[in-house]
Symmetry: C2
Subunit: 681 residues, 2 copies
């Protein structure tokens, strides 16, 4: 049952300040049915409800009790940033609480695991309710009955652990004897503060409660009393090895109007790159952002820092910072982004790697990096009004991000490779190519939860002239000016039917993002028809609208074969299958009788599309013609002179039908091989 305007969540992670220079303002949106509703249902009814038990089992909540003095025992966990797992879960739960209550009981409620369910158990709640295979139940996303109580309970644990002067980090309080800010390179104290602040802002925005916000404000004030530039009278001129507090402080300024937080964020951002942490790229300390020519170092650190730069440029009008962010975004997308939107080429140091170094099997593409990329790009979209930022968001959401969570919402990928070879030896643990119930470094799962719970925030924007639709869903978009109802089966079908529900009498512009991947589209609006191309990614329909007016946008979803810039050495001689915003892959399980590594795709034969409601929660597959190479036994050495090739036996092979499934859905069946890029000869 679709929500009315008043029921749309009117809030989200980014709320612009009064002096903001943003081109666009986030608009409210609500997803009612369809692709993303299914993912959000599994997040709401499986992932988020299971969080407290998992955090309990991993010791995160125990650490808070220890710090509060209400429990005894040893600190649990291997990292100084384990508190952030709690904070990110709280942020996710808060966005969930922001969902207006639905008309009935949440359908998944009775499947939400109670405290008696061990986190390691292989239990798929809601399996029998799922109408579409593996997916968790669709339906109302109103929070399950006890979520508010769970949040309250855990907020109290956080508050209890805080020290009187506002400091809060259970690792340093419990393991390091209360030592503070002595190991800024690795200590993650400000990083933890950042996630606490973001959770507190979400909690305040979603519930109106100041309970967690008070904790965050005390910590922020403490940090502000300690950190500052030389001459400021503050004891420490320093930055955290992991950027994160900066964008949180900007949001705290936006929430409270207190400019000290904005200034503190600006100070931190500008102190990176000056050797305060030893000058390592890993910590974003090799070169100042304003001078950098490409993204580098630890991907998530780089991206959180750039999100803060975008926030600061938005709030302060700092043109140099904006130019730097635009320059680095362009350098990143042209030279360091995988087809899936995944970021980070190296396992070692979780590093971006060199330009055009985009390996497949060793693609790191941390799920958190995909999330950080969405956060940064959304801030860039608001700041500039340019569509390309939401192009990247779409690609990332449907591929590099969504692959991070299993269809049932219970298992996770930390790294998101684009290839798993036949004969793969899996390392297990956080870097496994097999979905895992929880991680030793559990940053990704609650990060996925908070993005899915706040996904409606990233769909639309408004400005004085109208409403811009960035992402296509079934539901409503509502700017200050107007409300649009949307019905679509995107991304499986390309038709999006938009109906004006509320509109002023004056003319305004409805802007529709025509995705970068889309080569043909048609929009019908009354008697008029629009066809591409559009120069800047926006189809702008300016007119006087009346309630009931309809725009039908048809995006051609012809499947396509995609090749890479020739400097991407890893995929030379290969193509990938894509359809709409979806990147496809082959999985070994769909190709019995041999592995994937001998397969060649025939690019001269047409691609066929087949919707499979039975498969992977319902997916449209793409079927391609291919063959399986017969390789001659070349002896013990796999390299040979090229002019020997004519003499060697012909590499003919048997024809095989290749069934490609959306990349986001891989690794949801049996363990096995997978590949996105397919050799053409």
């Amino acid at each position: 049952m679709p929500r009315t305007r008043s029921a749309l969540p009117a809030t989200g992670p980014v709320r612009l300040g009064p002096d903001s220079r943003a081109a666009l303002r986030p608009a409210a949106a609500g997803i009612d049915t369809g692709f993303w509703q299914a993912r959000r249902a599994s997040n709401a009814h499986v992932s988020i409800p299971q969080g407290p038990a998992l955090l309990e089992a991993a010791g995160n909540l125990h650490n808070l009790r220890l710090a509060a003095g209400t429990a005894a025992g040893e600190f649990q966990g291997a990292y100084p940033f384990v508190d952030t797992d709690v904070y990110k879960w709280l942020e996710a739960a808060a966005w969930q609480l922001a969902q207006a209550p639905g008309e009935g009981q949440a359908p998944g409620e009775d499947q939400a695991p109670g405290e008696d369910q061990a986190p390691g158990e292989d239990h798929a709640p809601g399996e029998d309710q799922a109408p579409d295979g593996d997916l968790a139940p669709d339906g109302d996303l109103a929070p399950d009955g006890d979520l508010a109580a769970e949040v309250g309970r855990i907020v109290a644990l956080v508050a209890g652990a805080q020290q009187p002067d506002g400091y809060l980090n259970t690792w340093f309080q419990l393991v390091k004897g209360g030592e503070r800010y002595k190991d800024l390179r690795w200590g993650h104290e400000l990083y933890c503060a950042g996630h606490l602040i973001q959770a507190a802002v979400a909690h305040h925005r979603a519930t109106g409660s100041g309970e967690l916000l008070d904790v965050a404000l005390k910590f922020a004030d403490h940090i502000d009393s300690v950190f500052g530039p030389p001459g400021s009278g503050k004891p420490i001129d320093g930055i955290d090895g992991h950027p994160e507090v900066e964008t949180a402080l900007v949001e705290l300024y936006r929430e409270t109007g207190e400019r000290r937080y904005l200034e503190l964020a600006a100070y931190f951002v500008d102190r990176y790159g000056h050797g305060l942490l030893g000058g390592e790229a890993y910590c974003q300390d090799r070169v100042p952002l304003r001078e950098a020519t490409n993204v580098e170092g630890h991907a998530v650190r780089q991206l959180y820092l750039l999100a803060a730069a975008a926030d600061l440029a938005t709030e302060t009008g700092d043109a140099e910072l904006r130019t730097a962010a635009e320059r680095l975004w362009h350098a990143m997308t042209t030279t360091k982004t995988h087809l899936t939107g995944g970021l980070g080429a190296h396992h070692e140091e979780e590093d971006f790697g060199d330009p055009y170094e985009l390996p497949n099997e060793r693609a790191y593409c941390e799920t958190c990096a995909a999330i950080a990329s969405v956060q940064w790009s959304w801030r860039m979209a608001l700041l500039t009004g340019e569509a390309r930022y939401s192009d990247l968001i779409e690609r990332t959401l449907y591929n590099g991000f969504l692959a991070g969570v299993s269809l049932d919402g219970e298992r996770w990928l930390y790294v998101n490779p684009l290839q798993v070879r036949d004969g793969h030896t899996d390392p297990g643990g956080d870097q496994s190519a097999r979905r895992t119930r929880w991680f030793r470094c559990a940053c990704c799962p609650p990060n996925v939860m908070r993005l899915l719970a706040s996904l409606e925030h990233y769909l639309a924007s408004g400005d004085d002239n109208g409403l811009q639709i960035h992402q296509y869903v079934s539901g409503r978009y509502a700017s200050d000016l107007a409300v649009i109802r949307s019905e679509t089966d995107y991304p499986w079908h390309g038709t999006i039917a938009l109906t004006v529900e509320e509109t002023p009498a004056e003319p305004w512009t409805l802007s529709l993002r025509i995705p970068q991947w889309c080569r043909e589209f048609r929009a019908r609006c009354g008697q008029e028809t629009y066809e591409g191309p559009v120069a800047d990614g926006w189809l702008r329909l300016e007119r006087t609208w009346s309630p009931g007016d309809q725009v039908v946008l048809e995006l051609s979803l012809e499947p396509r074969l995609t090749a890479a810039d020739p400097r991407v050495d890893a995929v030379r001689g290969c193509v990938a299958i894509e359809r709409g915003p979806l990147v496809y892959c082959l999985e070994g399980v769909d190709h019995p009788g041999g592995g994937l590594d001998d397969i060649v795709v025939d690019t001269t034969r047409p691609l066929a599309v087949k919707h499979r409601p039975d498969l992977l929660g319902g997916v449209t597959t793409v079927v391609a013609a291919g063959s399986r190479r017969h390789l001659p036994d070349a002896g013990w050495w796999p390299y040979a002179p090229v002019d020997d090739s004519p003499d060697s036996p012909q590499q003919d092979g048997e024809c095989v039908e290749l069934t490609a499934v959306p990349y986001y859905a891989w690794a949801n069946r049996e363990d096995g091989s997978m590949r996105v890029w397919l050799p053409t000869s």
Copy 2:
């Protein structure tokens, strides 16, 4: 001045036991001039003499004094295995002492840095003496005057650090309060013992002195009293996380005749793969060697373990172990070996990676893994008599191994990538693509030293029927039966002139390895001419020989373009340039006016050869035709539908002459880009 038979080193790292089942026995050999003599001169007169000062500066010798109680201070170094840097240097120095003294002073002697030279100084000793550019002086390799004294001094330090019951590990003695064998997974205690034993065996073989051997025997006996299978009455049933002691114990058996050491080695080898260390592939503990189907885990650990398996099969006739070693060698070469012979695809955990996962820029190819590969393959060559093992040794020596040391013998590479991109951001430290003076984990430099100092051991073998020449050098080969003098300018020229110097009256077989890479050869022997191919890699010349008989072998050194098995995804659509045993690469410094990443090689044009005595110590370059792509600006997204390509601007480019230099010589000029594999379109 060539050495006489009696002056040939009659010893080396492998001496077969009396019951050995080896097909071949190591034969004595001596290198007089030419390619390898230049490398050995730089090792003898630069690398090895600089060792003590570097070990002093890094704290390794200080640790020994601390453990002996003759100095005060803190333990230096970051690893529990820092003692092995000393042991490997001692082994290298011992093999150097095994060189018979020459007729005159060693030419490099007065350049050997004394204790007043700091290890970090950028000083190239012998530069003014080098007749061939950057290379250290050629000439007599008799040890510099004070080497024996240095060895004696450091042997005494080692002996002084040993505890009364034979245990010796400065890390555990000094940092861990004497705790022993509590952290077998990471402690490296037996690994350290292994390198101590190998050094002691070398010292004993080279000098006849039992001083270091006594230390090793005490430690070995201690280990034998502690470790054993359940029911043996020994307190610990365990293995070391890093195999190494096993092959050392076999050699200690060979040196002393004490079978307990052989049995202890056999026990250790067979306890891997049973979960004693938690079951990780990293520690070779996932699966027993006898059941393994491919090499896996940490490359050096795997290779040292396999060298021990070959030793055990040789000494005990264990057919199952031999079969496993042969199977794993074949699996490794067909699926996990880089063109250079380099091994280990992952930086993360220094792991072998999956089959056919052979990245270029992230090739780990640790220098130590190349050395371990030579050690294992030589044992396989002796065990089986098959030529392919020495084929891999040749490829490894000239490429993946030799790249590990700079031309001047003063700087090192720990990892040996096959590509450094334009715009590479170098991490510095041990994983740098720039040559480094010493490493935090300094395993590679003294490992290179010990292999170069004992290189003559890997050149030839004998059996009851004759002499086998595995590697071609200028010098002499001497089995029990005969002595052959060899003159060649290999690998720059393909002619090898072999003259019989000593021979029995009875007929015997001179076997010449025809390299796997060689497609055409001709051997003239008196009136007879032999041409290829040879079925098993050996050209066998059986006859009655007389002193003065000559065999002239001509190996065709036509440069060639090489392609890889199509399953090696990383090099699809690329070729490499090779000539003889040498793999070539392009360096940015030879291609000004643009980077290497836009270059395409024209495979239809002939390759030209140009010897450049002025370049890189004298190298033969290969010149190829190529072009520099002009890439259209594709906007912000580097992926596009393939059927868009015809519409996009033609990728024509300017013609460029490509100058390829031997891979071993890369990174000896300015920092910059490099690539072995070249796109063909």
